[in-house]
């Protein structure tokens, strides 16, 4: 593990704490803005292990259409791109190559359709159109899979920062639960059937 990587982690942790610590005082749009600024800083200033900076920007932009930052934090705020960077470097060279090839084709489509060299520079509606066109491709399936995995894996893998993914679906990673677990077993316990 390089020093650079550790400092990136430390940076992530710090920005995460700031965002989390401010939850009470900040309104949701302000949290999102803070998250976006942190992400922007990361994308500009931090090296990736496996991805080139261009790949990181592009894959982050795709992930942001799969799990968008709308009313609630999305893939970008959860740091999905760092998860992707980590796991592609963990013996998944073949998958990385598939993604690189798919990205080249996507960028070609961006040029042909919108005269723009990079996917991340397109308008969200344009991005959605291009992704809809390749929805069934191995490339999209792979990037969607990695986005979902990065959103909902343990934060130690680089994504799901501050459990944003878990919070999104109402999952609480607790050590223990006690009955009642849900509405229907509570009702069952009360009514006896």
């Amino acid at each position: 593990m390089t020093q650079q990587r550790i400092s990136r982690r430390a940076f992530l942790r710090t920005t995460g704490d700031v965002a989390r610590g401010s939850c009470i005082a900040l309104t949701l749009p302000m949290i999102l803005a803070a998250c976006n600024r942190a992400t922007e800083a990361r994308l500009n200033g931090e090296d990736f292990q496996t991805l080139s900076e261009e790949e990181a920007r592009e894959f982050d932009a795709i992930a942001a259409r799969i799990i968008p930052s709308d009313g609630t934090p999305g893939a970008t705020e959860a740091g999905v791109i760092y998860f992707i960077d980590n796991v592609l470097g963990d013996g998944r060279e073949e998958q990385h190559a598939t993604l690189q090839e798919g990205l080249r084709q996507l960028q070609t489509a961006a040029v042909m359709n919108y005269d723009t060299a990079y996917f991340y520079l397109l308008e969200p509606s344009q991005q959605d159109q291009l992704l809809t066109d390749i929805e069934k491709s191995e490339f999209f399936t792979s990037i969607r899979y990695l986005t979902v995995a990065g959103m909902f894996s343990l934060p130690e893998y680089g994504g799901n920062r501050d459990n944003l993914g878990f919070d999104l679906i109402g999952f609480e990673d607790r050590h223990a639960w006690q009955p009642p677990f849900g509405h229907y077993d509570k009702d069952y316990a009360e009514t006896g059937e």
């Binding site: 968008p68 609630t72 963990d90 894996s153 893998y157 999952f171 639960w177 229907y184 009702d187």
Partner: protein, 555 residues
């Protein structure tokens, strides 16, 4: 060097028994033989993980194969539909945990016994052309004392009732608290005139044998228990084996051959330590408990002039009759929080369809239990997002995820698989694993009756889901055929006829008198899913008979 635990035996002196594999069967046989004062070396290819090592790590366990290993870890497998196809590389087709305790560590804990009919079904139902569907050489009555022994030795929770096959003793622990999917199944079953009963599970509902009760964390299936409440052989049997002073557990040891002598007897088990050092442990007898994939693979790898088709394979049945159990699922969306991600996988079972009416025109049977559609797992849920027809990415997808995670229940069918010669485990002719051993090659296509049974159970589950009041529902089963499994059954089937079976009714090889095979491979028919209870009962029974045979000087 392999890590030596407890007793320590020199490799060049024969111990009484070498046991290959420390899983559901191996752990039990190691405990039984060592506490009966036999010297035992227990070889396990994985590590000895402890409760504190296990995490709620969906990426690591489910997607990175941290416990199950796979191509990514240097253990590739191949899969094909039929003999005429070239098998393709897969992460794994036959899944099992590589650790002390084997798959009993990461299994769901569902613990169905077989029933009387399972052992005699071929003669009751009549033969089915083109299949190897036959009766077992033992009856339910012969296995019942061992089912009960499993209940009490490892710790099982359940409720005795009319739904049970005959049992000689009550469960040691009361049933687990019902979850919302269980309530929904029970209410639906009642409406339709069926019976949903508390699922028997190898998970402790109260402290037992020095182990604590389940804390309902929700990570059973695919995960190791973090408090030792799941009754794996690792926590219930291995400690007793080691404490006997007669059992040496060697982890990170990969067995690749059983050597035999001119007399046709097994003499030693050859393996690699973690660093590749070759070792051979001499033994008076060998017990293979490596599972329904690895046991036949080892027999094939142990071929010799005397055993040209693989050790113990004069019948030609080694590796054949692979059975996965069929599976189907119906997911339903409900108005109120179901929160099926909490606690154990299944708390209610319907067994009204155990044996399907012959007039349906196909053979089959099974059970339906109540779960979360995606094991209660966030990543799995999100991967399948859009389950009820919504988009699979974008804002609407994201919005739907919360409902799909917390407001869903699933009714799952677990069903029969017919034994077929064409469904099998063989050695891949081209692909090697990281040790240079031929990779496991699986050839599998469900019998048409198996498919019809899955469909039948899906239809019944859809009706149950309606009766449960689901506001949306969706059902599916593998219409194109199963292409992976964790139930690895039938590949060294037991039987009385050496011409058509691999082991006898006491799990002894028909061909090699001091070689025993006991794991999922021993099963003659598939049961209705949840085979671990039967594997464990067979292990206790095999151990009893091995001890008796040894006492008579007959090994």
């Amino acid at each position: 060097m392999a890590q030596a635990l407890s007793a320590s035996f020199p490799t060049r002196e024969a111990v009484d028994f070498v046991i290959v594999g420390s899983g559901a069967a191996g752990g039990i046989i190691a405990k039984e033989l060592s506490t009966a004062s036999f010297s035992v070396v227990l070889l396990e290819q994985g590590p000895y993980l402890q409760a504190a090592d296990f995490k709620h790590d969906e990426w690591g366990y489910e997607h990175n194969s941290d416990l199950m290993w796979g191509a990514h870890h240097g253990h590739p497998q191949t899969f094909r539909r039929s003999e005429s196809d070239t098998a393709k590389l897969v992460e794994f087709a036959l899944g099992y945990a590589h650790n002390v305790g084997g798959s009993s560590v990461h299994f769901s804990g569902n613990f169905w016994r077989l029933r009387e009919i399972d052992f005699i079904e071929a003669s009751v139902r009549g033969p089915i052309a083109g299949t190897n569907f036959v009766d077992w050489p033992i009856s339910y009555d012969e296995l019942e004392p061992y089912y009960t022994k499993v209940d009490w030795e490892i710790g099982v929770s359940g409720l005795q009732g009319s739904w049970d096959p005959p049992r000689s003793r009550d469960y040691p622990c009361p049933p687990m608290p019902v979850k919302s999917p269980g309530v929904l199944l029970e209410r639906a079953a009642k409406k339709l005139g069926y019976t949903a009963y508390p699922a028997p599970v190898a998970i402790l509902s109260q402290p037992y044998n020095g182990r604590p009760a389940c804390i309902h964390c929700g990570f059973c299936n695919g995960y190791g228990c973090e408090v030792n409440a799941k009754s794996s052989s690792m926590v219930s049997m291995i400690p007793l084996a080691l404490a006997s002073g007669n059992c040496e557990l060697r982890t990170a040891c990969t067995v690749f051959r059983i050597d035999t002598n001119q007399a046709g007897r097994a003499t030693e088990v050859v393996y690699w330590e973690a660093d590749g050092t070759e070792q051979a442990q001499r033994a008076n007898a060998v017990v293979l408990c490596a599972n329904g994939a690895e046991t036949p693979r080892l027999l094939f790898l142990s071929e010799s002039d005397r055993f040209p088709d693989g050790l113990g394979n004069s019948s030609g049945m080694v590796g054949k009759n692979l059975m996965f159990n069929g599976w189907c699922q119906v997911a339903g969306l409900f108005d109120e929080p179901v929160n099926a991600f909490k606690s154990i996988p299944a708390t209610r079972v319907v067994h009204d369809f155990y044996t399907l009416d012959e007039n349906l025109g196909f053979y089959g049977g099974g059970g339906i239990d109540s779960r979360h559609p995606f094991g209660g797992l966030p990543m799995a849920t999100a991967s399948s997002g859009g389950l009820f027809g919504g988009p699979s990415w974008g804002s609407e997808y994201k919005q739907n995820l919360q409902q799909e995670f917390s407001h869903t229940a699933a009714f799952e069918g677990h069903t029969t698989s017919l034994p077929l010669a064409s469904n099998n485990v063989t050695l891949d002719p081209d692909l090697k694993d990281k040790w240079g051993r031929p990779a496991l090659r699986t050839t599998y296509m469900d019998h048409p009756d198996d498919m019809a049974t899955m469909n039948y159970f899906m239809q019944r589950s859809l009706e149950l889901m309606d009766a449960a009041g689901a506001i949306q529902k969706v059902g599916f089963y593998g219409e194109e055929g199963s292409d992976w499994a964790v139930h690895l059954l039938g590949t060294c089937r037991m039987g009385n006829d050496p011409g058509t079976s691999v082991v006898d009714k006491f799990n002894r090889s028909h061909d090699v008198p001091n070689l025993f095979m006991c794991d999922g491979s021993s099963m003659v028919t598939s049961g209705r899913g949840q085979p671990t209870m039967t594997i464990m009962a067979l292990a206790f029974r095999a151990a009893d008979n091995i001890i008796a045979a040894a006492g008579r000087g007959e090994i």
